[in-house]
């Protein structure tokens, strides 16, 4: 597009134009994303005391986080909650994505997708809060069941539990699971399915052997899209867990801001990022294997 300042052939080359074009968002991301993340890595290697940050680098914070009972318990809780949410969300979402892709007339597909996405563009806080209102001790379910006489006393198992947190998050991230699965189902060449059935496979066998493997990239994308934000969720443990079931994000806030230990807080944040990265890599590798297995 616009010529760069360097003279010569480079000025008009495609590479120069491309780099010039991408530079505004790239510079923004470097300054406000890469630099802060690097700063956080540095912080996590220092020691934060009343006097200020030490200058020497040490792994003490990481040792503290990885061996500390509270931190370990919170990591495990966060992982359990987000793994369960991911499982529930993807299992519930797959049939819906399948239905929209295979059983809805093409001209009605975008209406279905529109209906599915609408709830997710409404205030996340209010959606989470609504679950608190629904599941609470004096909430909608308890008062509703009591007023029609099914139960005499409020159910306590539904409030402030891991189960209600999982329910809330599974509802909050449903659309994020449906969309990638839908996209991968849409890409499947329908003649494969006819071929499978022409060759004498039952409908169910065709689904297991053709449709499901071909939609795997979408399933894996859905897993990542749900898993990553849920493991770092702050609002749900605060509102639904009533602050009694904190997850890793709440811990980061407590250490960073309430105890004002930026070094330890950074180490927890970096550990959380490491967990997210490891899980993502595992799933991306699984996806690769799937794609390779297919091309054999």
């Amino acid at each position: 597009m616009e010529p760069g300042s360097t003279p010569g052939r480079f000025r008009n080359s495609e590479a120069a134009n491309g780099l010039f074009m991408v530079s505004p968002p790239a510079i923004y991301a470097v300054l406000l994303l890469a630099a802060p993340l690097i700063a956080m890595v540095l912080y996590s290697l220092m020691v934060d005391s009343k006097v200020g940050l030490s200058s020497g680098l040490t792994f003490d914070n990481y040792l503290k986080v990885w061996t500390g009972r509270i931190d370990q318990a919170l990591m495990i809780r966060s992982l359990t909650v987000s793994a369960m949410v991911t499982l529930v969300t993807v299992l519930l979402a797959y049939p819906v994505a399948y239905f929209v892709s295979f059983h809805v007339k093409p001209e009605k597909k975008s209406m279905w997708l529109f209906l599915i996405t609408i709830p997710f563009w409404t205030s996340y806080l209010i959606r989470v809060f609504l679950w608190k209102v629904i599941l609470g001790y004096n909430g909608v379910i308890n008062s509703g069941l009591m007023s029609i006489g099914i139960i005499d006393e409020p159910l306590t198992i539904i409030n402030y539990s891991l189960g209600s947190m999982i329910m809330t998050l599974a509802h909050a991230y449903a659309a994020f699971a449906i969309l990638p699965i839908f996209v991968s189902l849409e890409k499947i060449d329908r003649s494969f399915l006819e071929a499978g059935q022409d060759l004498g496979e039952s409908k169910f066998r065709t689904f297991i052997r053709v449709t499901l493997p071909l939609s795997m990239p979408g399933v894996i994308a859905a897993v990542l899209i749900v898993f990553i934000p849920t493991i770092g969720d702050y609002v749900t443990p605060e509102l639904i867990g009533g602050g009694k079931l904190p997850m890793i994000a709440n811990r980061i806030e407590a250490i960073m801001l309430k105890q004002n230990d930026k070094a330890l807080g950074s180490a927890i944040a970096m550990t959380a990022m490491l967990i997210v990265a490891l899980v993502s890599i595992v799933f991306i590798l699984l996806n690769r294997r799937f794609l390779r297995g297919q091309s054999k």
């Binding site: 406000l32 993340l37 819906v96 409404t122 994000a249």
Partner: protein, 269 residues
Amino acid sequence: MSKNPSLKIYAIAYLIFLYAPIALLPVFAFNDSRVIAFPLAGFTTNWFAEMWADNQLFKAFRNSLTIATTSAVIATALGIFAARASTRYKFPGKGGVLGLIMLPMVLPEMIISMSLLVVLIAVGVPLSIFTIILGHVLICTPFAVAILTSAFQSLDRSLEEAAYDLGESPASTFRLIILPLVMPGIISSLLICFTISLDEFIIAYFLGGNQSVLSVYIFGQFRFPAKVPAVMALGFVLVCISVCLLTIAEYFRRRGIAKTGGKDTGGFL
């Protein structure tokens, strides 16, 4: 395609599950009782009046509008650059650069806000609406890039070449040919970034200093059980606004597809 009633019933049940909590908003926003519980106690519009009378809400709402508008414009502008670069050019390090720009999509928001907070405090930038905008642009840009990339991808390269052949400069080609064709994408990117920013809580909560925005205001209200019905009323109003914005975004997205002669596959993402 074969008919499978059980799958359709399941899909409809799923939609009901998605909408059920939101359906409670109008029910309790108009219910004449401070306690959110059954049985219902009659019709009232008091909660809307109570919400309307709260000055703090208006202040927070004004802040949110400023932040959402600014963030949407900047993120979409950055998104245009990234989408154009990714669809039109090959350059060294393309995957890495675009990966970095898209990274906030897959990073827990808590980590983004804490790393920004640490740096802002170290550099000595006071927390304000401006710092919230910095964070929101970061998380909105990937969505803008995703939407705009699909808009730029459906462009026919030969239209651009035809304009060059007819003597237009690159700048005028961009303005006269490319911009009008991707305009629907730009509008839906603006609307979606606006919605994301308006809804965002974590960054606004931690980077806002003592400036309140809508989501932080709502979060604060949850501490007072007596305020809950007014929050339900506010929630109902917000849902209505988002549905309107999304319908407009969807309209422009479809028009964009029709304009470039593509096939509608549905969905924003």
